[in-house]
């Protein structure tokens, strides 16, 4: 494969200023500059163009992993991370690189007007170079977004499964959000461990915060209840809202053998009664 010719590099070098201006106006038009300070953008554009010229000058196309590419790779990684943080989407981030194509191609056209064969070759070369860079930008962007999502998921998982002690021997687990397999696993493990640690006889699972109950959620609940029973404790499910009760009945789910209560207060009252305690009003 032919490399980027010195003539191309020289042309790009000499019209750096012009390229940057054309590029910035293209960026402006595509709407990719929102939420970015103009000075920052100008600086980023100038830096990126300088780096592109330097890798093009170093000659042959290598894979992006080559050491010559370290600087531009790091630049793009930093760029896409900052874009991800200010909430731009992948298209806006990638168009930062892609919109350089227009000005560069126009420049090439002017330079190689007399040699169409060389023009086509150089066009392909530069196009590939910019594509590879844009791909790398998107990949990094995706990675940083994924890491943000993963972190949030983990935090959510930790936040949403507190086991609280309501009374001596009574534990409660207020569930908030949808119950999937992974969450059920975490919930089950933490609840069972707390039962062993505290020697509690009764566990109340409050599902007021669970938006919907389908067959899968019901199955997860039943699993938890069974595991609690196997350990030798009792389980009460509370917070069954009218709509949820209707859904459960319509789905024909068998919750037999599971004690259910409409709200947490009723469940606690039942738990206290089972422990042989009574609550009376002080006169």
């Amino acid at each position: 494969m032919a490399a980027v010719q010195q003539k191309t590099v020289d042309a790009m070098k000499s019209s750096q200023q012009e390229l940057t201006t054309a590029w910035l106006s293209a960026l402006e038009a595509s709407g990719a500059t929102r939420n970015i300070k103009e000075d920052d953008l100008r600086q980023q554009a100038a830096d990126f163009l300088r780096l592109v010229i330097s890798v093009a000058e170093k000659g042959r196309h290598q894979s992006l992993a080559g050491s010559d590419w370290d600087e531009i790779r790091q630049f793009l990684e930093k760029l896409s991370q900052s874009r991800a943080l200010i909430g731009q989407d992948s298209q806006q981030t990638a168009s930062f690189v892609f919109s350089l194509k227009g000005p560069v191609f126009r420049l090439l056209q002017r330079e190689y007007e007399a040699e169409p064969a060389v023009y086509a070759e150089q066009l392909l070369e530069l196009s590939e170079l910019l594509d590879a860079l844009a791909m790398h930008t998107i990949r990094t962007f995706q990675k940083s977004r994924e890491s943000v999502i993963k972190r949030q998921q983990e935090e959510l998982l930790e936040l949403s499964t507190p086991v609280v002690k309501l009374w001596d021997g009574v534990l409660a687990l207020p569930m908030i959000g949808t119950l999937d397999s992974q969450r059920t696993q975490v919930v089950m493990e933490s609840l069972l461990q707390r039962i062993v640690d505290t020697g509690s006889e009764i566990a109340i699972i409050d599902i007021t915060g669970v938006p919907t109950v389908d067959t899968l959620v019901a199955q997860h609940l039943l699993k938890t209840v069974t595991a609690i029973r196997l350990m030798g404790a009792d389980c009460i499910i509370s917070g069954v809202r009218p709509q949820i009760a209707q859904t459960i009945v319509h789905l024909g789910l068998d919750l037999q053998g599971v004690v259910t209560k409409a709200n947490l207060a009723d469940a606690l009252a039942l738990a206290l009664r089972r422990l042989g305690m009574t609550v009376t009003k002080a006169v």
Partner: protein, 120 residues
Amino acid sequence: MERIPILQMGAYLLVTIQVDMHDQLALTLQDDLSERISKTSARGVLIDISALDIVDSFVGRMIGTISGLSRIMDAKTVLVGMQPAVAITLVELGMTLPGVSTALNVERGMKLLQERVLAQ
């Protein structure tokens, strides 16, 4: 041969599983326990599995069978001290051990057993 000891306390039998349960051991325990129940005409059996932290489907089934056979021989059975990991494994294996009474620890298990026997 390795055996799981069965201790007699009055009208009750106490089985404490302190080692990793393997298939032959479970079968031996099943034989021994039924023998002992018929010999001593025990009224209740307490099985403590608090030291058991690995189960497979066979051992899970044996636990169910052992409680089932003592029930048939008219001895109330209570299974105590199941570890969370064991409970989760059994549930995931689909073995919910219906009809088996459970308690958190030996003390509560004994209390439950006495209540059951006295209620008879």
